[in-house]
Amino acid sequence: MEVNGQLALTVLMGVFLIAVAAWLARVEDWRSYTPLAGGGTVGGTAEQYVSEEKPSGVIRWLTTVDHKDIGMLYGAYALVAFAVGGLMVVLMRIELADPSMTLISNTFYNSLLTSHGITMLFLFGTPIIAAFSNYFIPLLIGADDMAFPRINAIAFWLLPPAALLIWAGFFPIPDVIPAQTAWTMYTPLSAGVGSGNQMNAGVDLMLLGLHLSGVSATMGAINFIATIFTERNEKVSWANLDIFSWTILTQSGLILFAFPLLGSAIVMLLLDRNFGTMFFSVDGGAILWQHLFWFFGHPEVYILVLPPMGIVSLVLPRFAGRRLFGFKFVVYSTLAIGVLSFGVWAHHMFATGIDPRLRASFMAVSLAIAIPSAVKTFNWITTMWNGKIRLTTPMLFCIGFVSNFIIGGVTGVFLASIPVDLVLHDTYYVVGHFHYIVMGAIAFAGFAGLYYWFPIYTGRMYQVTLGKWHFWLSMVGTNLTFFAMILLGYGGMPRRYATYLPQFATLHQVATVGALILLVGQIIFVWNFVQSWLEGREVQDGDPWDLADDDLVTAEWTWFERKLETAVTDGGEDETELATDGGQTVDDTDADAESADDA
């Protein structure tokens, strides 16, 4: 009976869908486009069907296949995720303000910890990078669009449902609780073994969401590889490909192997949880999961950091008044990191008792990977050396990036050494190490990009003073929070606990204050961002940063200049807005204001 009911329902659903499809086909008449008389080979002729480029309203955003729109969607998505993940951690830091605090339960703390990590890495990190790469790679390499515009759109639209699945445990669904596995999802805990509550469907939903986000990232990577290989303008050769495209190309290569591997591991875990397979219940299954996870996980950290390095390598020289020092070596080091990052994963497993010979070789490669990172740092610093530095907001964030990256990198080198790691593993030191990089470097580069290109995607300029406030609060907050964590780790404070011994109270309180300072900074950012987008002064000059003075204009600004020119001459919608602006020349004043207040 039960089975028949299911069958009937399924068939009904199928019929219903076919009916809808048929109806849509008739309404939209989408099959009846007849190609123009055969033989035409130029895409241009077909354009006679087209009256406009995009529909209006919400439909424009739902249907867009324009890389710039999709970039904006990625950006909006990433910033929402950043806010969600950020608010989660604020709750956690408040809980940690005092060892006896009972604002949230220990289990809820664990859930927040898990979701914070996954949200920031997969829903903020990867998408914010995709925002920049979608918008700017085609412009930088002189392509019409991405190689596969529709795949690009599909990849984006898979992300919102992925987020809903990952957060599903927090929604008021009866009997579903959020996962508490931490972002590393170690088995047997994540396999639901034992007396805990991790057999709950909330974990499965999170795993499914994670898999979906991985599919999206892989589709994006395939698209970028095809785009950078084949869509370059004739004038853009490998020799003069810009640094950001290089890092995206390398990142895409890493994604290509890393994410599908995680995907398969997740599916195996799901099968173990729901279909009685024994993938991770073998002897040593827990270690097997760690191998698979970190084979993905370490490249993942470079997936997240390489493109931000690219952004910094692109933006920093613009405000240092000279070209990137040792461009070639920055490219080589990017490629070197790309290759090496697949050979270091077991440095996350030094404390698990794996074969010592294996351990030593991973230590060697891990120390080696610090070299290309150091090469980059050296090049950024030498670019600024004796340069004509303009401390605009994006430049401040770039310098903040370099500074935080140095601390994050140096602490990493210590962790790569086995004896040191055995002491510091699973302490707050590790948390401090990687947050110096993920918050202090990756997020900072994201902000640098958001400010630097603000005129391009909004047509307006942000408020300079608020931008500075945002930077300084972020810089102080980051260093306060995460340096305190490094010290906590030296003191022996283990990570992932909702409470602690009283002796750690002071440093934990410092970290909490730092987190609150960060929060204030980000509120200012949101205010500045939204308000300037709506009401900021319009940019009328295609070169608001005066890059031409130093001969440092890049392709996306040339494109922007052309767009501004046509917008003015074709008497489109923009003109009315220009008129109501009161005729003030914004661009120059603004750039001057920037440099004046930096002088």
Binding site: T10, M13, P35, I59, L62, T64, F148, F257, F279
Partner: protein
């Protein structure tokens, strides 16, 4: 903004001139539809799990799952139709667009290495341990050998078809595709039969020990790939029947073949390490 101007200020080709909604150059509903279908498949899986726990009805999961597959396929159909099929002969078919499709396929195959890699890693991991971990079923029977031969032959017939279209020989092209598809179907049938034999007669199923997980995990993943390959070839076949492709225009024939050959190579590797490798030294 009219097209003319649109064309001027961008100076580029619009990617979606023939699409739904019609009349726009950079708008298409298909990605959204496809993505909703794709995400629905995951939601269906999630609902299924919740159904097992009694949180939602038992039917919700499968219903959403299957409904979403249809939606996903509808989206794919619309997308492929508008992007590649509907105006095949009038579409701009430069060298560039051919090579981007090839690069897309190469990159996709790269990602497949990761997908298979995790399962092979698992298998090697247990293979390096105590062997055999359990009583193994009889693996290298005549069925596997026949199936392997069939899949290898299908690669040759496909290649033969590919050569035919390059020589503008439509008859042989279609013939070659048809034979390849047939062989693919026989292969899938053989796999299903093998599963049937193992599960019903040898009492060896996916829940039977660590080798069961490895065996069904790997062969199942591969089977899915053969099925997808058959779908791709099926699309090529239908388009060929409708008179598409020529000596100069056969990109999707090459990309689909790349995929098919790849799946074939994975199979050979799989037979050697999983079927033969499990028995050697056991």
């Amino acid at each position: 903004m009219s097209t003319e101007e649109a064309h001027d200020d961008h100076g580029h080709h619009l990617p979606a001139v023939q699409d739904w909604p019609r009349g726009f150059g950079e708008a298409s509903w298909w990605p959204f539809v496809t993505a909703v279908g794709g995400a629905g498949i995951y939601a269906g899986a999630g609902l299924y799990v919740m159904g097992q726990d009694g949180i939602v009805g038992q039917t919700a999961g499968p219903a959403v799952f299957i409904g979403s597959i249809f939606l996903f396929l509808a989206g794919l159909y619309g997308w492929l139709y508008h992007a590649f099929v509907s105006h095949f002969w009038s579409r701009d078919a430069s060298q560039k667009s051919a090579s981007k499709l090839r690069w897309g396929m190469i990159a996709f195959l790269g990602s497949e290495l990761g997908t298979f890699g995790a399962l092979f890693a698992y298998y090697f991991f247990i293979r390096a341990g105590t062997w055999p971990p359990q009583e193994l079923p009889h693996l290298t029977g005549s069925l596997v050998l026949a199936n392997t031969a069939i899949l290898i032959v299908s690669s040759f017939t496909l290649h033969w078809a590919h050569v035919a279209i390059r020589e503008e020989n439509h008859r042989n092209f279609i013939l070659g595709l048809a034979v390849t598809l047939l062989l693919g179907a026989v292969f899938i049938g053989g796999q299903v039969y093998e599963y049937y034999e193992f599960i019903v007669h040898s009492n060896f199923s996916i829940t039977d020990g660590i080798f069961g997980s490895a065996f069904y995990g790997l062969t199942g993943l591969h089977g899915l790939h053969v099925s997808l390959g058959a779908v791709l070839l099926g699309i090529v076949f239908v388009r060929a029947l409708r008179g598409q492709y020529s000596a100069e225009r056969h990109v999707s024939v090459s990309t689909a073949s790349m995929y098919w050959h790849f799946v074939d190579v994975v199979w050979i590797f799989l037979v050697v390490v999983l079927y033969v490798g499990a028995e050697v030294g056991a």
